[in-house]
Point group: C2
Chain length 420, copies 2
């Protein structure tokens, strides 16, 4: 792609946003596996099908507190004519009764305790009267009643969880119960973040001389972690071609994804697209999307390289649209939007341009969607005032007031918004 | 509350689940504040209103690449009769033009660069022709065009974010842009987890002699972290009254919430309710809820103490219903369910008992809700096979097949389920 002739003149052509994303994603597959402890496994993606190495439970146990008996010996029992058993011991969880039951015998048993040999039933405490060494059973109880059978939950060899599963808290519980303590999960992609711009100073620096604080690093850090990546930060990169070139090469060796923020447009000091083309392949440069049109997508040494606009609003949108699904796919996760969706009517119209994807920040008030009017893409406070955003697809010129549109909510908890 | 007369006989009375929860929650308020770096702030709850210490941006800057001019000097310009300016320098981000513009002068300017003194407008590069030291402007451009004004995003003293806000990635970006690097957030509650049961062995142990692996610890660890708490684990606690008493006292000193798993029912070795009553106050013991009826709620030395059933399924439900909102409230978070809700028709009826809250695990297949049939509450695999759960409130006897019911989805990403 010839870049020089577009410098200071804008992009000659802008890629369709979905096509551009597709170009990037179709080359990306999930990383390999690593073993982790169950303590670290929730939220990770299972790399292989996992079968149970054992029956769960691996012995018959009481499902209620009561008395272990042979069920058939209770037949005919009622409160008018109870059946008596000899109490010969007790079985507690982890402290089984050492002897087998002979006919006419029972042991006191607690929920979770092993059923003694010879017993097949637990008579619930409410259905029995204990007096000294005699237990009177007041009701017939069929064999197997109130017993949790060996293998009732999971049988040895059965599939516990499938490859690709995003592990839930209860998943690690069942893996633990089945005797596992480490499991194979997809590795987390390391994501190198290169922040360019001579005007930038790091978080906490004292501002002077028309410089500004780099706010993309902390934002990208949280976004990358949300999406299952491991962010790798370094010093801010000055607008010097050779320095950026060196840092980019290092990043491609150290990480599985490289994000470059800033220097992604067609200005004189926008070296990032040139360097990606030089060191690898620049697949896409300039996208029909607002904000975030100066986005670039490339490939160096088998690594996706994503050029994000330096402006924080554009950076956020471009991250979410391009970098997020790339990182999620490497991490073995779904590439679906991480935001909850609600459908509500628009309080005012949204205008868009045919052929362009618009990312419109909105508020929700009185169960209506209010577009946040803004003169420019650079107003970061619009993203903090917004409850979410509406995507206007390229094939649409916008939406009329009153039309019901899907809104992606920034917040995980939608309920308070919907009550407004 | 007298406990001895209910031993081995079940609970005399069961509390309404919502009333029981209310008993606990009405005493709980958010913890105090601590300062954290913006690098650690996303997901935390802002403890105070935060105003901007400065204007953002704090200088006028170019919103486009082009030429800085006095706008009124372009009036009358067109491609047929361009207006010429003398090119006297350039302004780059972080490298401002050192001199002010005199009439008839312009400087080349890049997006984000400071506007030189004397200029009020940026002529987009596409609307100008640069030839040597002369720039011809081809269109009239009104003053203020393509300029990002000082304070345009945020003005000094204005509220940036309100107390109680759960911080998003873009929130830390705007806080950083406004020159802040540390902010006050609500402290994370420390949650002591006491796991009791002589039958239990820790994760990774080799099973023998009718013992089972403690699967609640890893599950609770993930749940507590999800809800903004800091889990504190210790060794498994044997079923010995004095040991549990000692551990419970230590836990109440070290943590803001204490969870005890196991020993919460009315069996002979269920010491937890007795000890809570002895060391503090047992508010609730026994809840009209299935599973999880042997749940207890108490208060020791100003700390909520929650008795969770040892059975993992019951433990999960009781955690979600009682411990989760307690931890969330201490952490300053919303106590709303963390699961997405969808409404779909039932494929088969659900029966429940009047007066009891039922937590029914369900699958979603073909856009219908299928209750997972199970004989007992102890089948952990039902929670891993389930896509979510339906709550049947105490005032309902259940739902008929075909009725549309709300389902809480375990998975954060619902889309793949809804496509099934």
């Amino acid at each position: 792609m010839a870049l020089d002739d577009v410098r200071m003149r804008g992009f000659r052509r802008r890629w369709d946003a979905h096509q551009a994303r597709q170009q990037l994603l179709e080359r990306i597959t999930a990383l390999g596996a690593e073993e982790v402890s169950l303590w670290e496994a929730v939220g990770r993606i299972l790399a292989e099908d996992v079968a149970s190495p054992m029956d769960v439970p691996y012995f018959d146990r009481a499902a209620m507190d009561g008395y272990a008996v042979r069920g058939e010996e209770t037949f005919g029992a009622s409160s008018y004519s109870p059946v008596s058993f000899r109490l010969v011991g007790e079985s507690l969880p982890g402290r089984p009764c050492p002897r087998a039951l002979a006919p006419g015998e029972t042991v006191r048993i607690m929920t979770g305790a092993p059923l003694p040999e010879g017993a097949d039933t637990v008579v619930r405490a409410e259905l029995a009267l204990e007096q000294g060494t005699v237990v009177q059973v007041l009701e017939a109880v069929p064999p197997g009643k109130s017993v949790s059978r060996r293998g009732e939950d999971v049988q040895a060899g059965n599939l516990l969880l499938s490859r690709g599963r995003r592990l839930r808290p209860q998943d690690v519980a069942i893996l633990a119960a089945a005797g596992l303590s480490r499991i194979p999960v997809i590795r987390q992609p390391r994501v190198a973040v290169l922040i360019t711009g001579d005007e930038l100073m790091p978080l906490g620096a004292h501002l002077s001389n028309f410089r500004i604080i780099d706010s993309n690093s902390v934002m990208l850090d949280a976004l990358i972690r949300r999406d299952g990546g491991l962010p790798m930060h370094g010093d801010l990169v000055p607008d010097q071609r050779e320095t950026l070139r060196q840092r980019l090469k290092e990043a491609c060796e150290a990480a599985e994804v490289v994000l470059i923020s800033g220097g992604s447009s067609v200005g004189r000091e926008d070296y990032a697209p040139l360097l990606v083309a030089e060191l690898g392949e620049l697949l896409v440069h300039g996208v029909a999307m607002r904000p975030s049109s100066p986005t670039g997508l490339g490939w160096i040494a088998g690594r996706p390289v994503i050029l994000l606009p330096g402006n924080p609003v554009s950076c956020l949108c471009a991250y979410d649209f391009f970098a997020r699904p790339a990182i999620c796919r490497l991490a073995g996760r779904s590439t679906a939007w991480p935001y909850r969706q609600v459908c509500l009517p628009l309080a005012a119209k949204i205008s868009s341009e045919l052929g362009r994807l618009d990312y419109v920040r909105v508020r929700i008030r009185n169960h209506q969607v209010e577009p946040i009017a803004t003169s420019g893409a650079s107003i970061l406070s619009t993203t903090t005032q917004a409850d979410g955003f509406v995507l206007v697809p390229p094939e649409s010129e916008g939406y009329a007031a009153g039309q019901t549109v899907p809104v992606y909510l920034y917040d995980e908890e939608e309920s308070h918004i919907l009550e407004q």
